[in-house]
Symmetry: C2
Subunit: 506 residues, 2 copies
């Protein structure tokens, strides 16, 4: 399914004051120069037609690459024609870009064809790449000369610096490694804004941002970048005041014409997290109305029966990737979850009217959730007209606290036991699953699941955590090819949040 | 056959004084902005994945292209990935660059793959292209936006301006057209130096230069550019004082390690032409020793029998492209031809010693040419141990004036009549054939041959004249694919020289 949203009527309301605050918080990026591990092999090589090398930069990098090229042999008598391909995982290089025919843009494949008319040349590539591996292939030189690559380096960039983070205080080397990889993931996604993935889409997505901000509070503590993103979202609503699911910052800040029901509702949760970390009253006051408005808009979607209509065949409520997931029940659960955060925000604001109104709605909707979606016989929540049982539905109903804690605990254990056919696919959904385990006092099990899921990615060679990881189908991609998946993806960075909460806050 | 020369021992002698004179004569290029004829069709189009257009710039252009791009639809949410291909002839676009597997560099194919991360964008391509047609294909955008091309133009460049040339005073519209196309060819090859072809090799080749200079004297009369090139060749000799067959000007002037016996010998002819046009005594005095040295080096190759050894299996004496041409007899003829020009130079210099010495040598070698290569029975010259009969051999023996004029005339008519299997392939060789006809008082026939050869290129759609044109095999290429041939090639511009000599000097 091509998951895009295009709104025919799209009227953006910019709050210039908010955007000015966001602009002033634009970070200056840290730069680190990194060279490939196999520089010696490179410098000794003379490249003729079809000669190639794969350089290994040792870890995942995001940045700007420079090549220092010269020629050997006779004077250069033709352009040097060079192909570059950047890959986050070495496996990507096995796929042929020309064969990609999926629904997202081929333009995301990080490849370049470059003619160098005059050697020697210092070739500073203007685009930013996300990669650990760089394949360089000389498509052609001439019979009279060869290309020599004297130097290659990347100016790796990030809004933050990993040196500042102390190692996780835990004995388990796998968890230590998971923490390190998570932090690298977060670091490489922290650029001008919190990007979802530095390879693709390189954009500020609200759902990802909320999780990144949580991981950031436990690690880099870059509060300004969170504040900047909160103001960007709050400063560019559309139509009846909706927050976009994602934002662009180039050539100037603009919202995407994409509404995702769950993402918009989770804005309040992100705002609350920020306020509780910083006690920044001004920001809370500025952005509280935007957060409350998302809940009001969410409530407007309710039917007379107090449920959200099923729009699982549209790109309207994200929840998770994965073919065939019915999202109706989860939509309602996320609305309930958002209301709870709304009440907490209202309490900080002393907004008694909303406290009362939202509290009443919370109870009504919890009851509706049970009435409509609880299958008494199977002791699980169902979703949609075909009464689908999925992991996602159970997890979100637990996070919505539709049941009391003990019953939630039984539910999550039953879900594990039943292992519904409709699996979780993204680390984004796994995050909420871990969260649900913890909120059900299943901390050891949560740790084990982190070991099993993110630890398995580490075993599979992850330097940074991936956008999509289905342990039951490691070649899963929502885009028609794993080559298009992002392998440094923000929503996957949260183990560091959980681990540091367990081992350091305790 | 891969026609390259790589010299193991290559010691360049730079004459800094000469190079300084050359540098000071570097031209400032004229710029003309040209837009495609089908701009309206272009501006109305919205490009999605795989959409393409071929733009027609109306005539052959050499220059720098700018595209003004924007997007339609939702905000750009992926890079735009654009493929550009420049073609001198529309037919080039039918060939697939990926399939080229010949001996010269694929890098000459004028194609670019460009990612545009942020739209709108003014994309000023840094490389220079030679083309009439520009194919633009959008490899991909995304489902949410399309690319719009608001404007495309080329800043066409040349050292000269065609406006200054009055039309040829002749009734025949075909000859008028041949003259115009020849002048366009010359103009587009006149850049920082006289290039052989602005698409490929973009270099100063001595053999091409001599013919360009002749055409230039009848048209643009840019004497400084000729002088610049004479000093560049004269200022960068190698080993025992040889002149390189071609020169590079980037990153700084350097000779190629290529010696072509005939090209080096023809330097004196180019110098004499220049002096007779300009009466520039200083240049003559500076460069006369270089020209004489080429003849001395040529003479050193003579065997005891007073012939040049057969090196037709090497890239050592150009004469013509074309499989299987034996060049031994032509080599001797070109040496004799060069000696005649040397004597004329020596006369201008008052160098009696060389006049005497070279005149004696000229007679010896004419006798040797007849003794070794004249086939009395067939009444044609033969070449090599297999006694090959070719057009090229007869033409050069005529130009060397081995026989008196009337016998030369009989020889050229006999050659036409016999039509040897080893044809002429390049306009470079055809130039010398036309020259041979004229020097045999066959002016009408020369005109008809210009109509037949260059006129046929016009009929075949030439906007500028081609590097290779064999009327008997229109797909002939020395490079393994016509796609690699240059279709604006300096050595092909000489009809304007002949025509303006006939119709205007008379």
């Amino acid at each position: 399914m091509a998951a895009v949203c295009i709104l025919d009527e799209f009227e953006v309301h910019k709050n210039e004051e908010f955007l000015k605050i966001a602009d002033e918080l634009k970070p200056e990026l840290h730069e680190t120069v990194v060279r490939p591990q196999n520089m010696n092999e490179l410098a000794a090589k003379q490249f003729k037609r079809d000669d190639q090398i794969v350089l290994d930069f040792g870890n995942h990098q995001v940045g700007y690459v420079t090549l220092d090229l010269s020629s050997e042999g006779s004077h250069q008598d033709a352009p040097a024609y060079i192909y570059l391909r950047f890959a986050e995982r070495i496996e990507e290089l096995a796929a042929d870009p020309a064969e990609y025919d999926g629904w997202i843009s081929k333009s995301w494949i990080q490849e370049e064809h470059i003619h160098v008319d005059v050697l020697p040349a210092k070739l500073s590539l203007p685009r930013r790449y996300a990669f650990r591996y760089l394949e360089i292939k000389v498509i052609d030189v001439s019979m009279k000369f060869s290309v020599v690559i004297n130097d290659v380096y990347v100016r790796a960039v990030s809004a933050v610096c990993q040196d500042d983070i102390s190692p996780l205080k835990v004995e388990d080397p796998l968890l230590q490694k998971v923490d390190r990889v998570a932090i690298r993931t977060l670091q490489n996604c922290m650029q001008d804004v919190f990007e979802d993935g530095p390879k693709r889409d390189r954009r500020l997505w609200l759902g990802d941002f909320r999780l990144q901000a949580r991981a950031n509070y436990k690690t880099f503590k870059n509060f300004d970048l969170v504040k900047r993103c909160l103001y960007l979202f709050g400063g560019m609503t559309f139509n009846e005041g909706k927050i976009s699911a994602c934002l662009f910052t180039e050539p100037q800040p603009e919202p995407d014409d994409t509404y995702l029901f769950d993402f918009a509702l989770l804005y309040g949760s992100a705002l609350l997290d920020y306020y509780e970390e910083t006690k920044d009253e001004d920001t809370l006051k500025d952005l509280y109305p935007v957060a409350i408005r998302q809940i009001e808009i969410g409530l407007d979607y309710l039917t007379e029966d107090n449920v959200i209509p099923d729009r699982s065949n549209e790109f309207w409520c994200f929840v998770d990737w994965g073919e065939g997931l019915n999202k109706q029940a989860a939509s309602l659960a996320i609305l309930i979850y958002a209301i709870r955060y709304g009440i907490r925000l209202a309490k900080y604001m002393g907004d008694t009217e909303h406290i009362e109104q939202l509290s009443q709605k919370e109870e009504e909707l919890k009851k509706s959730a049970v009435d409509h979606f609880w299958d008494e016989k199977r002791q699980l929540f169902v979703s949609g007209s075909e009464r689908q049982i999925s992991w996602a539905t159970q997890v979100w109903m637990i996070l919505a606290r539709v049941f009391p804690k003990e019953k939630n605990r039984e539910l999550i254990l039953r879900t594990i036991n039943v292992n519904p056919r409709i699996q979780m696919v993204t680390p984004y959904m796994y995050h909420h699953y871990i969260d649900a385990l913890i909120r059900s006092d299943e901390k050891e099990r949560a740790l084990n699941e982190i070991r099993r899921y993110w630890g398995e990615m580490v075993h599979d060679g992850a330097d940074t955590f991936w956008e999509v990881y289905n342990p039951y189908n490691k070649y899963e991609s929502p885009y028609g090819s794993v080559m298009m998946n992002s392998f440094c993806h923000a929503w996957s960075c949260t183990p560091t949040y959980f681990l540091r909460k367990f081992y350091e806050d305790a």
